[in-house]
Point group: C2
Chain length 492, copies 2
C-alpha cells in the first residue's frame, strides 16, 4: 500500500478553506444524526512519527460538537494495563452508542511498536492481529463505524520535522528516544506497517492511508473520508432490514441431549462433605497465594438453573480466599450505561488483573439464554454470540487466564422444592420472585438453549463443567475440586 | 486512644457462632434496607500490619449480598494517580447510593505511610487531614455512612505473626520491606496514628479502634459496630425533616451589585481582533508545551448566560492547543449514573492529570444556579455548596493546579438578538430550544444567584473573571489574554 503513494500531493489554503465551508457543517450534522441513530464511531490515527497527528486530529474535532466525542491518547501501557489482556484498555475506552472516539494511536500501535522494538515472534503478532480482527468484527456487527487512518510522510520529511522540533528548547522534549529509533528505522517500520495492512484491512474496518506531507491536503482527505463513511453508515442503517426476533423454540421437535443425560443422584454425606470441604479450602487458600505470587489471572463463571446453588458454591470458594485477591461480579440485566455499549463491554471491563480471581455469578452467557428466549436480542445477535464469546475467552486464555465455566444443574422437582422452601423461610423470601416462577414455565425452552450453548462454547481451554447439583454437598465439593485441580495445573 | 486498649480481649468460638446467627441476617437485612433508602456506606479498614485485615474483611462481607458491595484495595499510587490531587483516586471508587464500599486501606494510609517513611512536614500532613475532613463532611452531608476501623495488635504479637508468614515459602512474599520497617517502628507508627485520630475523629466520621489479637472478638466487634451504625443511620434518615425546597427569589428586595455594574460597551475592531488572536494563540501554543513539560495541571471553567459565547471562546483556546493535552468537558444535567453519587463526583473524576488542561463548558456551579432556581436541590444543599466548591478548588490549587473561572456576561438585549439569529440560521437552529427561552424569563432571579455565587466563590487562587461579552471579539481576546497571563505566571 505504501509504495504507490504520491507524497507530493498538496492543496492550496484557499481551496481548503472553501472546501471546509461545505464539509464542516455537513460533518457537524452527521454527528447529530449518528447520535440520533445511536451509531458509535471510532476513528483511529496511526502513522509515522511527526506526520502531524496532533494538528490533524485538532482540525477534525473542530468540526464536532464537544458534547459528543472524546480524544483517547494511547501511551505506553501502565502496570495495571499490562496485567490484563492487551485489548482490555481499549475496551474500556470505546465510545458509547451515538458518541465518537478519536484514538491517537490505538490497539495497532502496541503491536507495531513492540514488533519494531523487540522483534516480536511472528506467531504472537499474528495472534494479536487475529484478536484485533475479531474485536473489530464484533464492534462492527454491533453497529460501530470504524475508520482507520495511517499517516504517511517520507523518511526525508520525517527527519526534517524531527530536526525542527529538536532545535527549540520548548519542543525538543517531544522527541523521545523511541521516536528517534523509529525514524532511523523508517524502512523497517514501513515494512511492519505493510504487514499490518495485510493482516487487518477488512471489509468492515478498512485502512485509509493519508499523504501527510501537506497539511491542508491531509486534513481535507481525512475530513472528507469521515464525512463519506459516516453518511454511508447512516444510509445503510436506514436501509437495513428489520432484525428478526423469534424467541420461540419448538421444544417438541428439538431433541436435547446434554442435560437430559446427567445423573443427578450423586451425593455426599454430612461427614464426607465437612472433611472434603476443609481439606479443599485449605488447598485453595494456599493456591490463592501461589496464583497471586505467580500472577496468574482466573475467571470463574457460574451459570445454572434458578436455585441451582450458584450462591452457595461461590460462598464455599470465597470463604477460603483473601478478599483483596478476588471479586464476585453478580450479573443482572444491564443498566442504562451498560446498554450503551456492546453487550460484552460490561464483562471485559471486569476481567481480573494478573494474579486475581474474578467470579461471575451469571455472565455473558445470558446472551444465548435469557436474552435469546425473552427476545431481548435479535436472532442474528444471539447466533453470532457463540463465536464472539469463544473469541473473547480465547483472548483471555491467550493472555494466560485460567477460565472455568460451571453449569449448576438440578432437575425440575428439586427446583420446585427449593422455591417453596425459600417462600416459607422468612430470611430467604426476598430471594424468590414472580419472575423465578415465570422462568420456570419456560424450562423446556431453556433446556434446548442451554444444550446448544454447552455444545457450542465448551472449548478445551475454557470448558464447561456440568455440576450435578441436586445434592448441595456434592455440588459444592465438585466445584471446589475442579477449581483446585485447575489451579494446581496452572501454578509452577 | 491506643494506650487504653485492652489487647487481651477474646471471645469463644461458640459464643461467636451464636452471635453471628443473630447478627448475620440482621446485617443482610440492613444492607437491603440501606439499598432501598439509597444510603451509600463506606467502611474503612486501617491498622497495624498483620492485624488480620484480610480475614476480618472476608468475615464482614460474608454477611453481605455480593450484588451490593465492593472491596477496594488501596495500593501504592500509580503514576496516573500521582498526577492528580491525592483524593482523586478515592473519589473515583466511592460507592454509589445504596451500595457499600469496603476500603482495605484508604485515604488515611497514604498520609500515614508517607509520614512514616518520609517524615512529611507537619503542615503538609495537617493540610491533608483538613482536606480529608472536608471530604468526609461533604460525603456525610450528602447522606453517606462512614465507618472507620483501626485494627490494633501489640508489637510482640505483630512480630510473631510476621515471623510465621516469613517461615513459609507460600506466604513470605506477603511481607514487604516496607512492612518490616513499619513493624520495627511500631511505636512511631502508633504515635502517628494517635495524631491521625486527633486530627480526623469527627462527629460525622468517628474512628473505632478494634482489639485484633483474637479473631472472633475482633470480628464480632466489627460486625456489631457496622450493624449498629447502619441501623442508626436508617432510623435517622427516617426521622429527618423533609428538606426545604424554595427556589423563589424575591428579586424586588434583593439588590444585585456585581453584574449590574459591568461595562458592556467594550469592543475590538476586526483588525485588532485578528492581530491579537494570532499573537495570543501563538503564545498559548508555546505555553501548552511548557505546562505539559513542567507537569502543571490547568482547570478552566466557563459559565455565563445562554448564548454568552462560551463555545466560541473555548474554540479560540483549543485551536491553539494540542488535542492530546486538553479535554473539553461539556456539562449537561447529570445522567442516572452520575445522580447516584455526590454532585461533585462527576467533576472530580474529570480533573486533569498533571500537565493537562481540562476545560469545563458549564460546571459544578450549576448547583447554585440552575439547580437552586429549578428546585433540583434543597436549600440546605445549595447553601452549603459554596463552601464545598471552595474546598474542592482549594484542593486543586493545593495540588498545584491553575484554576480560572470565566463568567461570560452579556445583557438581556444582546441575548435576545443572538437567540433570534440562531433561530434564523439553519445551521444553528439545533442550538436553540424552548428551554433557552424559558430560562430567559428567569433572568432577574439568575442575576441574583450569579451575584451571590461570584461573591462567595471568587477566591485569590481560584478567581472568577467576568468577561464583558456583548462584543465577541473583545470577549475571546480577554479570555485568551487571561489564560496566557495565568500560564505565564505558573511556568518556570
Amino acid at each position: 500500500m505504501l509504495e504507490h503513494i504520491d507524497l507530493t500531493k498538496s492543496m492550496k489554503k484557499k481551496e481548503f478553506s472553501e472546501l471546509m465551508e461545505t464539509l464542516a457543517p455537513q460533518l457537524a450534522l452527521l454527528q447529530r444524526q449518528a447520535k440520533a441513530a445511536n451509531i458509535p464511531v471510532t476513528i483511529i490515527f496511526e502513522g509515522f512519527d511527526f506526520a502531524g497527528k496532533g494538528k490533524l486530529i485538532n482540525r477534525l474535532i473542530s468540526c464536532f460538537d464537544p458534547r459528543g466525542f472524546e480524544v483517547c491518547t494511547t501511551k505506553t501501557e501502565t502496570e495495571e494495563e499490562k496485567m490484563h489482556p492487551f485489548l482490555w484498555r481499549f475496551w474500556k475506552r470505546l465510545p458509547a452508542r451515538g458518541r465518537i472516539a478519536v484514538f491517537d494511536n490505538s490497539w495497532y500501535r502496541s503491536v507495531l511498536s513492540s514488533a519494531f522494538d523487540h522483534d516480536t515472534p511472528k506467531e504472537k503478532i499474528e495472534r494479536h492481529y487475529r484478536e484485533i480482527n475479531a474485536f473489530e468484527k464484533q464492534l462492527s456487527d454491533d453497529g460501530m463505524v470504524i475508520i482507520k487512518f495511517f499517516l504517511v510522510i517520507s523518511e526525508k520529511e520525517q527527519k526534517t520535522r524531527m530536526k525542527t522540533l529538536l532545535a527549540s528548547e520548548d519542543t525538543q522534549w517531544r522527541v523521545s528516544d523511541a521516536m528517534k529509533k523509529r525514524v532511523k528505522g523508517h524502512e523497517k517500520y514501513a515494512q511492519l506497517a505493510e504487514k499490518m495492512f495485510g493482516g487487518t484491512s477488512t471489509s468492515y474496518a478498512p485502512w485509509y492511508t493519508i499523504e501527510a506531507t501537506d497539511h491542508p491536503y491531509a486534513a481535507a482527505k481525512i475530513i472528507s473520508t469521515v464525512t463519506t463513511v459516516m453518511a454511508n453508515a447512516l444510509a445503510a442503517k436506514e436501509a437495513a432490514p428489520k432484525p428478526v426476533i423469534n424467541p420461540q423454540i419448538d421444544t417438541a421437535t428439538y431433541r436435547t441431549a446434554v442435560l437430559s443425560s446427567i445423573d443427578l443422584d450423586k451425593s455426599l454425606t454430612d461427614e464426607e462433605y465437612k472433611e472434603k470441604k476443609k481439606e479443599l479450602q485449605k488447598k485453595l487458600s494456599i493456591l490463592h497465594n501461589k496464583i497471586y505470587n505467580q500472577r496468574i489471572p482466573v475467571v470463574l463463571v457460574f451459570e445454572g438453573w434458578d436455585a441451582g446453588g450458584k450462591g452457595g458454591a461461590i460462598k464455599r470458594l470465597t470463604e477460603a480466599l483473601d478478599p483483596r485477591g478476588y471479586v464476585v461480579n453478580p450479573v443482572a440485566s444491564p443498566n442504562a450505561t451498560e446498554r450503551a455499549y456492546h453487550y460484552l463491554w460490561r464483562f471485559w471491563t471486569k476481567f481480573p488483573k494478573d494474579g486475581h480471581i474474578a467470579i461471575f455469578d451469571r455472565s455473558w452467557y445470558g446472551r444465548v439464554m435469557v436474552e435469546r428466549l425473552e427476545g431481548f436480542c435479535s436472532q442474528d445477535e444471539w447466533q453470532r454470540a457463540y463465536q464472539e464469546m469463544n473469541e473473547m475467552e480465547a483472548g483471555l486464555v491467550g493472555h494466560g487466564t485460567v477460565v472455568l465455566k460451571f453449569w449448576m444443574h438440578i432437575d425440575k422437582d428439586e427446583q420446585e422444592r427449593r422455591f417453596k422452601e425459600r417462600q416459607e423461610t422468612p430470611d430467604k423470601q426476598w430471594k424468590i420472585t414472580d419472575e423465578d416462577w415465570r422462568n420456570r414455565e419456560k424450562w423446556d425452552s431453556y433446556e434446548v438453549a442451554v444444550d446448544e450453548m454447552l455444545l457450542k462454547t465448551s472449548t478445551p481451554n475454557a470448558p464447561w463443567i456440568i455440576v450435578e447439583a441436586n445434592d448441595k454437598h456434592y455440588a459444592r465439593i465438585k466445584v471446589l475440586e475442579t477449581v483446585v485441580a485447575a489451579l494446581e495445573k496452572a501454578v509452577k
